[in-house]
Symmetry: D2
Subunit: 188 residues, 4 copies
């Protein structure tokens, strides 16, 4: 199912279709994200907003609709997995991710807030944030210098998938709150 | 000078007027901010975006235009003061600020990124983040229960002003990076 | 092999025995730790030091001796896993862990420092910090009220073991830096 | 009054003398600290312990005795100021402070725990942590290369004193929780 995540209507209609075809959504993995390599001093506001649209607002909408879908079926469990980045742990001196990092810090705080709310309600819906380092994806290869992509400096997509699987496959009452992983010689 | 900070054009025209009338901007204090008391689970996206417009995007624009104004006059110093909140240090269990906290975490990371960039350029433009607890303002009184507003639980505007003055009046080579202050019995 | 980890000589002699019998140590899991439930205002210094002896100093010694053992055999990989606690992410209002939390914050910073040093040397020795919430152990049961020990509020030892296994079984160039996990209704 | 802060008995006898001569202690500034420039991989345990003795354990004892002195005179206010370091905010790649940073992280968590406890008791005793960057002191000059000591890269002792004064002179119900300051071109 294709969906432009920067358009709330498309997200809503995707959830509607899933409801009709599959009953609902129990687990979401907010993996989509974009880094436009802006610095804080000169990054244009419109590019900045594009990053927030996808990295923050789309993840909020998908998270909220997933919980709604779980609860309207009177279910008590499910899982929200938000993909952050190793950059959220430290604002790095290297400016290539300076305008991107705040979007991931916002997503982290959102995920934590959501976790507190779900616990207060005594639901068993779990929340996980995964903070990977650089991943060897076609997009990353297009953006960067090819010689960065050795195993010592970047993850493979399977490594991140393994983290998702680890969080999902924990016993139902175990909440894997956070996983940070990166290539052994990643510069973060 | 009045300015709707959620409208980039108004900010730009304000900076233009200041340039014509006063020469330029050396110091900005991004004090405007709004908490619409949304929780993460149900907060509407449009209200959420309103908070990001003022708390994040306006602060970015004002910071960028201030630096531009400093550097187009070939000056080397100036000061960006961004007003965060004590909530950025810990995502609190109390949901009344759950959707607001991520905006302040984003602002913090932006301010840190900017600081690294300004240092790399070897400018002496300083950046400060101030994280106050609850402040006794007309807006806060309108939003909340009156009996919260005793000196033990909330700051006076003057207390925050004193922090701004402290940061501004430090010797030119001293960067007060962060000040967190709150009433002695504030719940954070 | 039994070892009183608060005695450096016993740790050293344990490593000596392992060297003679098995060749050396490639992986250590610094799992031993103690919380004496002291508050910051009144906790005795001697009890406080007991916690640092085990939670910080023993973990430092074991980490250093493991790296030494790896490198004196001209190996390039290995794994240091330090067991922290969910409390390191936020100083909690509940005072029962106030004097314990700083020991885990120290261990976290030590682990991060070590990671930077090992990367600078271009070794492939990995470091992982695991921050579990309350775990249902005989020690914890002895310390606390029995009705805390339902699956919603505390982990089982196997849950923590699964996190260790996940970190260890990642591909050699993947460093799982941090895992935080806790029972779904743990109060942190 | 001279006192070897690594000896608890000397601290206790200093507090006794102050009690006899001046009545008691209302404010303490735990400024003493030592960085022995150890890295995490090879730093000796005995040097490491020396740093904890002064940076952590002495500060704990002085804080506890100050609060005791305040409360045994049935006073309700006072101030504990603990001197941390800018390094506590981020574990830096530069290894010269790797074994020192954890001591300051521990001190920060101790100060936060103490703050929660004092608030729960509804006292008005305030706690402040100050995190300065490199300061131009005789000790620092002895330890380091002379050309580091220009105003752009290090603070003067007066700059830190100004932060202490700012925290102390806030109105009684205002708690300045944290101040981080450093020279404009300090590398943190």
């Amino acid at each position: 199912m294709k969906c432009d995540l920067t358009k709330t209507e498309e997200i809503e209609s995707m959830f509607q279709k899933i409801k009709e075809q599959l009953g609902g959504v129990d687990v979401c993995v907010n993996n989509a994200g974009v880094d436009l390599f802006l610095d804080c001093k000169t990054g244009s506001l419109s590019d900045t907003k594009t990053m927030y649209e996808l990295n923050v607002f789309a993840a909020i909408t998908v998270s909220q609709l997933t919980i709604q879908s779980i609860q309207e079926r009177n279910l008590n469990d499910g899982h929200i997995i938000n993909m952050s980045s190793v950059c959220e742990s430290t604002v790095h001196e290297d400016s290539s991710c300076h305008m991107y990092t705040p979007t991931k810090c916002a997503l982290k705080a959102f995920t934590e807030g959501l976790r507190h709310e779900l616990r207060k309600e005594k639901t068993k819906i779990r929340t996980t944030m995964i903070s990977p380092g650089l991943v060897d994806t076609p997009q990353a290869r297009a953006d960067m210098d090819d010689n960065l992509f050795c195993p010592e400096t970047c993850l493979q997509p399977d490594d991140v998938a393994a983290a998702v699987t680890f969080a999902l496959s924990a016993p139902p009452c175990v909440n894997v709150r956070h996983i940070c992983l990166h290539a052994i010689h990643d510069s973060f």
